[in-house]
């Protein structure tokens, strides 16, 4: 065997090692590990948050707490009763049954929420009113909505006034367009994200 081939073999070994090392580094870099982790951007986590929001809204409709919160309106202040000076609650845990449900469902799990209500005004346009506004949602926030019917016989909880006796300036979802006992149909939106 010729002695001058030893250097070639050594060089070959180095090159082989470099090739394997480069392949390992490349494989580790291209593997997408984020979806496998329980981070905020995980699809499974988003699905769980969406399911929680949907279940919460369905339960709130069934036990009437959502409608009660929507009617917890102070006509004189033109804001929700007990809300901040801005007219809306600035925390998910405000003093109604629905507020306590939000706190137990989201805040206890390290999440927070915004709640908005949409209604068709007297100008036939859809308006949005903040019920709860904690902050701007992240890119991974989930959103769920539900329809709530308000009837002429329903009463605002602070004043006990029937909706049929309210005016456009006293109640945000006032409507005189419905010929039946259905006063208004509003859409409640819950936006949830992890903090």
């Amino acid at each position: 065997m010729s002695d001058d081939r030893g250097q070639v073999f050594t060089l070959e070994a180095f090159v082989a090692a470099l090739v394997v090392l480069a392949a390992v580094v490349f494989a580790l870099q291209i593997t997408s590990a984020t979806p496998l982790s329980a981070s905020a951007s995980s699809q499974h986590v988003e699905n769980q948050e969406a399911a929680l929001a949907s279940s919460l809204l369905e339960t709130a409709i069934a036990n009437g707490s959502l409608e009660t919160t929507l009617l917890h309106w102070n006509e004189q202040n033109a804001s929700f009763e007990g809300a901040s000076p801005k007219g809306y609650y600035q925390t998910c845990s405000f003093d109604t049954t629905f507020g306590r449900m939000l706190a137990r469902t989201f805040e206890d799990r390290g999440m927070t929420c915004n709640v908005n209500v949409r209604y068709v005004g007297g100008d036939a346009q859809v308006h949005t009113l903040r019920v709860v506004h904690v902050g701007e949602p992240t890119d991974t926030a989930v959103r769920r909505t539900i329809l709530v019917s308000l009837y002429d016989d329903d009463r605002l909880t602070p004043s006990n006034r029937r909706l049929s006796n309210t005016t456009a300036s006293s109640f945000y979802a006032y409507s005189d367009a419905s010929p039946s006992d259905l006063h208004q149909v509003v859409q409640v939106e819950v936006v949830v994200w992890r903090v």
């Binding site: 065997m1 073999f9 070959e12 070994a13 090159v15 082989a16 090692a17 090739v19 394997v20 480069a22 392949a23 390992v24 490349f26 494989a27 580790l28 291209i30 593997t31 997408s32 979806p35 496998l36 699809q43 499974h44 988003e46 699905n47 969406a50 949907s54 949409r118 068709v120 859809v126 989930v142 909505t145 539900i146 329809l147 019917s149 367009a177 419905s178 010929p179 039946s180 006992d181 259905l182 208004q184 149909v185 859409q187």
Partner: protein, 309 residues
């Protein structure tokens, strides 16, 4: 060792043909393929669990559920009132039409279309008298009056009369015309079939006849009791005299209502033609539709009335 023509193998050759390098390239390729495979699996699972397709289905079913709940509320509102069938239809249609229009406004913001339309309404008519001390004339005192006209089907019809208030015919009950001549209390079906209720001495008698000269069939009970025209029983006992009553598309009337004191309860399908009879919605059939970019959904749902308020 085979010898190739013109080729002499070198003695003691250890040329491995760059085996180490080729093996390293093979391992590197394997690692890259594994990484690509893992990424493919992760991406596939991610796409499969996204909510974009399942959210549409959930929203469609949620809208349908909301429409059913609203329909049920509309039915309860109408059944708690005393409106006519025509009024009920107008109110329910208006209620759901308004609800559908408002719901569609919100759906349009999310590039969706929703609608609810009343397809049909089924009614029942309810008539009853619960005061056991009143005779069976109508509210204006007329002894001969129509209870219900053109009933699609009789669901329940019971009557309880006070034996002492009935006419005692003393055995003079040969046929329908004989009983009519004595002013005996009767329930008539379509004007021809009559069920006379009277006394022979102290025994309460129920006789069904189909014509003026028909002697008909009869059943007795010494104590009277509940007459159930649908179950065909008299005081809980089967009464053959009641077994061929025309119980569909019937007009039911009372004759000589002042010759009996007691109570009755009647529930029939169809609209109530008589102002004394209260209409009630049995069920409402609605057409629900939902459309989004990836889903078109439509279903006809029959919503039954809930328990009486």
């Amino acid at each position: 060792m085979a010898r190739l023509m013109g080729v002499e193998p070198r003695a003691g050759s250890t040329d491995r043909g760059q085996l180490l390098l080729l093996t390293a390239v093979g391992i590197a390729s394997l690692l890259v393929v594994l990484a690509l495979l893992l990424n493919t699996v992760i991406f596939t699972e991610n796409v499969a669990t996204r909510q974009s397709s399942t959210t549409d289905v959930g929203d469609a079913l949620g809208f349908q559920h909301a429409a059913v709940q609203e329909t049920r509320a509309a039915i309860a509102t109408e059944n708690s009132g005393t409106g006519t069938a025509a009024d009920m239809k107008t109110n329910v249609t208006s209620h759901l039409g308004n609800w559908s229009a408002l719901a569609a406004e919100y759906a349009a913001l999310d590039a969706r279309h929703t609608s609810v339309r009343v397809a049909s309404i089924t009614y029942s008519a309810n008539a009853s008298q619960t005061d056991a001390t009143s005779d069976l004339s109508n509210s204006t005192g007329a002894p001969d009056w129509t209870l219900v006209e053109g009933a699609d089907a009789i669901r329940t019809f019971t009557m309880t009369v006070t034996p002492s208030s009935l006419i005692d015919v003393n055995g003079n009950d040969a046929n329908q015309s004989v009983l009519d001549a004595q002013g005996v209390f009767a329930v008539t079906f379509d004007g021809t079939t009559k069920v006379h209720i009277y006394r022979n001495g102290s025994v309460v008698t129920v006789r069904k006849t189909t014509g003026p000269t028909d002697a008909g069939t009869v059943c007795h009970d010494p104590n009277g009791g509940v007459i159930d025209f649908v179950s065909m029983t008299f005081n809980g006992t089967q009464c053959p005299a009641l077994d061929v009553l025309p119980l569909s598309n019937s007009t039911i009337a009372i004759e000589n209502g002042d010759a009996a004191v007691g109570t009755y309860s009647l529930l029939v399908d169809g609209n109530a033609a008589d102002p004394m009879v209260t209409s009630r919605i049995t069920n409402v059939t609605i057409d629900v539709s939902y459309a989004s970019k990836g889903l078109t959904y439509g279903k006809t749902v029959t919503v039954p009335a809930g328990a009486s308020p």
